[in-house]
Structure formats: structure tokens, C-alpha cells
Symmetry: C2
Subunit: 137 residues, 2 copies
Amino acid sequence: MTKEDIIKLIKKQKVAIISSINEHGYPVIRAMLRPRKIERNELYFSTNLSSNKVTEYNNCPKACVYFYKKGLISYTGIALIGKMEVLTNQEIKNEIWKLGDSIFYKNGKTDPDYCVLKFTIENTRFYKDLKTEDVKF
Amino acid sequence: MTKEDIIKLIKKQKVAIISSINEHGYPVIRAMLRPRKIERNELYFSTNLSSNKVTEYNNCPKACVYFYKKGLISYTGIALIGKMEVLTNQEIKNEIWKLGDSIFYKNGKTDPDYCVLKFTIENTRFYKDLKTEDVKF
């Protein structure tokens, strides 16, 4: 498994499972729509500034993003370990905005509740059936 | 949403997504087969004693177990926050053993690498489409 194989696999997924750490030090899992942008070892997601995950990532940027694919007899999973940053600058908000987003944000691209989560991969763990492999980024 | 509704929803799922915290304080996500046993606010999973998650839960029992169901237009997710305990006593190993497990454990129920993860729910967060709700256990 190479870095390129992993990026290829991520690009095919519709849902990303993410984890933050809450104020009591517990991991908290949520599902999100797939990243809007993937560049180098960075994934960019769209979200609400007022959400709990934003508060949690601002307090503790340590994060995990997980993708998986379940076949009839096989199972592929990829855990990306790294840091999550909350971005509110207009440039990146414009860049990853999609037309349908107006349903969620009344003020469009400049809505103060619309923000971007930037995840930087530091380590990865790849699961295929019963084997695991660490892939360097 | 009641506690009973949540248990009902969990019992229908085939896969559980779990998170531990690794030695560097990062959350780590993995998928597992659904719990073998659900009793009160406790879920029991079968796993390998030699796995990384067992090491991680022994170091830090704080855990999250997540289940989700994706429909065509709706999305339901349930995050259970609590503690994970690694059990190796023969009584519980016997109780949750399944016939097919012999494929993974050569020595059967008494295989020293076969163990049980017991998760105790402390808090839950329920997601339905764009709304969230905290359900007490």
C-alpha cells in the first residue's frame, strides 16, 4: 500500500468517520460528508463553527479520520491520525463552497457559522481483512 | 429517543466503529463486528489480546462506540461515550464464544489470545439528520 493508493481509496468514499477528544478526555466519533478537497497530506471538510466538534478541535487538535469499505467477504479500513485545524478565512471558505451549501448557510459563503476543518495526516494505519500495515506520509 | 430505542437501534447494526486513545493522546478509530452481548448499559465484544486496541484501552479506558445507518436521504448516528475494559476471565470468554471463532483462535475458548472487551456506556449523543440529542443512560 502506497500513499497514492490511500489517497485513491479516500477519494472513492462518501462518508468520513472522524474522532475528536472532548473536554473530559474521551474520544467522540461522528460521521461527516467526504472531504471537499484533498491536497498533499491535507483533507478539507465543511462544517458549522457552532458545532461541538469545532469546540473540541479548538481545545485539542488531535484527531482521527477513518474510511472503510465493506465487501461481501472482505473489509478495508484506513485510519488517518493527525491534527485538525479550524479555518475561518474567507479564501478557503470560498474555495471549498458548493452550490447546495446555501441550504445550510443563509448568508452563503460569508455566513459566520460556515467554516472549514483542515486535517493534516501525520500517520496512517491500513486494515485489510485481518492484516494491518502502517503507511508513511 | 429513549434508552430502549437506542438499544433497539444498536441490535440491528452489523458493524460498530470504536475509538481508543493511543500512547501519544490521539484518538484512533477502528471498525469491529457488532457486540456479542448487550446487557443493561454494557456492550461485550470479542477480540485479540495481542491487538493494539487492547494495549490502548489498558493504558486509557476512555472510549467511544459509534453506530450509524445511512438511508437515501436520512442519516442516523449514535455515539456512546464510556469506558472499555479488557476481560480475560474464562467465564465471560465462554459466554460470548461463537462456533466460528475457532477459525481465529486455534486453542478455542481457552486460547490465551482470545479476550473480551466490555464497554460501559456513560453518555450518549444521538444524531438524526441535522439535529442532535443527548440521551441519558
